[in-house]
């Protein structure tokens, strides 16, 4: 038995294909991308090392500032709102019996649908003359230009997109919290009721501490998901009006595949990568439980 499980040849046959694929499609390209970020490189030239030039350009690029601001806004917004809404929904759903599966499945549904398609749908709902504004007009009100307003530090379109993203993805957090909450032994709650706890008190003192590790997991999924965010924005506003809803991913796409500035786009990609790793690290740090 031991000999079988230590069979080197079998291990190599099992692991090597995936390992090589991973190395060629993920690991080497990541290293290349970081190298390109220090290069002058576009569709017509070969990469030429120029040091920090791309990063210096990033610092004076106004669109980059907007995208970084929007990405950070999006990151914070989705971490906070998904945590709150996810917990509320999970808390309510684990407390009811009738219809629990129905509500759960309905709220989770958009998570599996194409954000490209949903983006188009919401673009229409929030368009200037149709959708919501058509309803408002019926009652004599004039709705705002949901996806075209450019005023404010965080523009109205960003809030709209952030709302749609919450609508689409809150099901995921809810589902993770529900799984963790239903794993908590009911005897803990019974004991707390005997001691005179109310539902809310037991939620705060039993549920919350016990799902802390899951909050970390759900939050790092949210954080990476919101930094990667592309589909909804691309189909709702394409980064417009006037680059006001640009995020890191859309900026990278425009620079890399519309203007073919590969070096510059790689620098944006590196910023994105660093942010992703940093957020994962910070969240794991914050929600680490020592007894696990």
């Amino acid at each position: 038995m031991e000999k079988l499980l230590k069979d080197k040849k079998a291990i190599a046959i099992f692991v090597l294909p995936a390992f090589l694929l991973f190395t060629f499609i993920l690991f080497i390209p990541i290293c290349q991308s970081i190298y390109y970020s220090f290069c002058d490189y576009d569709a017509l030239t070969l990469p030429k090392f120029v040091g920090l030039k791309n990063y210096k350009n990033l610092l004076i690029d106004d669109v980059m500032k907007t995208s970084l601001k929007n990405s950070v806004f999006f990151l914070i917004y989705s971490c906070v709102t998904q945590l709150i809404m996810g917990l509320i929904l999970a808390g309510l759903l684990t407390n009811i019996k009738a219809g629990r599966n129905f509500f759960k499945n309905v709220i989770y549904l958009p998570c599996v649908l194409s954000s490209a398609a949903l983006g188009l749908l919401w673009m229409f709902i929030f368009s200037p003359k149709l959708g919501i504004n058509q309803i408002l007009a019926k009652y004599g009100m004039e709705g705002p230009l949901w996806l075209m307003d450019i005023k404010g530090f965080i523009t109205l379109p960003m809030w709209v997109i952030a709302f749609v993203a919450l609508w689409q993805y809150v099901g995921q957090s809810m589902m993770l919290y529900m799984a963790q909450i239903s794993g908590i032994s009911t005897s803990l709650y019974e004991a707390s009721y005997i001691d005179g706890c109310s539902k809310l008190q037991s939620f705060r003192n039993i549920t919350l501490p016990l799902i802390k590790p899951m909050v970390g997991t759900a939050m790092s999924l949210n954080a990476i998901g919101s930094l990667k965010f592309f589909d909804l924005i691309f189909n709702m506003t394409e980064g417009g009006p006037n680059h006001k809803t640009e995020v890191l991913a859309t900026h990278l796409y425009t620079q890399g595949f519309k203007f073919f500035k590969y070096g510059y786009a790689s620098a944006i990609g590196t910023v994105l990568l660093v942010l992703c790793l940093l957020m994962t690290f910070l969240i794991n740090r914050a929600f680490r439980t020592d007894d696990m």
Binding site: L4, I96, A179, F257, C276
Partner: protein, 273 residues
């Protein structure tokens, strides 16, 4: 529980369900209207079932071809990721070798890395070796990025199998490949099914990579082809809605049949840490 509180909970949840279902019902309804009807009375039921939107989207909008492409890409990726993912997971979860922990970490790295960071190197490399504008150029990255989750969930699955099973198979004279194919794979069916569903759904919806790598209209996947229906020169909303419905109906059907397994997959990945 207090009856009023319970009623409030149900009112709130019903409200949420309406927010979730209304847009989806509405898009299906509007997709049967003519464009003029959308502007005059968008919230009424369609006057007649106007099927032309669908025929237009399916043929002129090339969504039929796009769906075939999406299906091809997703099925191939699904099969390959199941094979590669489970062999690796078996080796990591069950076999004994020094580097197994390190290799697992190497694969898990993929969970934290956004696909955006490898787009440019892959794009330039694939252009040189003839993989750009080729569905296989999409399949390879999709496969790579679906491996981490597959391996994560499947490793847990293989680890949970009882030792005695493998031992008795060994005594009966099975070699390691037979143990894997004949004993462990049938037992891991649930896990495979769940990870397979998640892989399929994720790749079915992927937009960015497919958009960058495929420029030929006949090779585009479904999410990319949808963008043909928007743009400054296109105001034919009813056709756009038909296209949206075509894009989301397959996933809705899969979800209605397999929602429990999808949910299991999502939580299996996170809870077993």
């Amino acid at each position: 529980m207090n009856k009023i509180v319970k009623a409030l909970i149900y009112i709130f949840l019903t409200f949420m369900a309406v927010i979730y279902l209304a847009p989806l019902f509405w898009v299906i309804m509007v997709s049967f209207k003519t464009n003029a009807e959308i502007f005059t009375d968008p919230f009424a039921l369609p006057q007649s079932f106007f099927i032309d939107n669908y025929t237009f989207a399916w043929t002129a909008g090339q969504l039929g071809a796009a769906m075939a492409n999406s299906l091809f890409v997703c099925v191939i990726t699904l099969i390959l990721s199941m094979i590669l993912g489970s062999t690796v997971s078996f080796a990591i979860g069950r076999m004994k070798w020094k580097l197994s922990g390190l290799v697992l970490v190497y694969f898990m790295m993929g969970m934290m890395i956004p696909v955006h960071c490898v787009l440019i190197p892959l794009f330039t490399r694939f252009a040189k070796i003839g993989l750009s504008n080729n569905l296989w150029g999409v399949i390879l990255p999709y496969l790579t990025f679906s491996l981490p989750t597959t391996i994560f969930i499947m490793t847990g699955f293989f680890k949970s199998l009882p030792n005695e099973l493998l031992e008795s198979a060994c005594i009966d004279g099975c070699n390691i490949y037979q143990i894997f194919v004949l004993i462990c794979m049938p037992l891991a069916k649930t896990g495979l099914f769940v990870t397979g569903l998640m892989t399929f759904v994720a790749n079915w919806n992927e937009l960015l990579l497919a958009m960058v790598f495929i420029s030929d209209d006949t090779k585009k996947t479904l999410p990319v082809s949808l963008s043909k229906f928007v743009g400054p020169y296109n105001t034919n909303y009813s056709q756009m809605f038909a296209a949206i419905v075509i894009a989301i109906i397959p996933t809705i059907i899969v979800y209605c049949i397999f929602s429990n397994q999808i949910v299991d997959g999502l939580t299996a990945g996170a809870v077993k840490e």
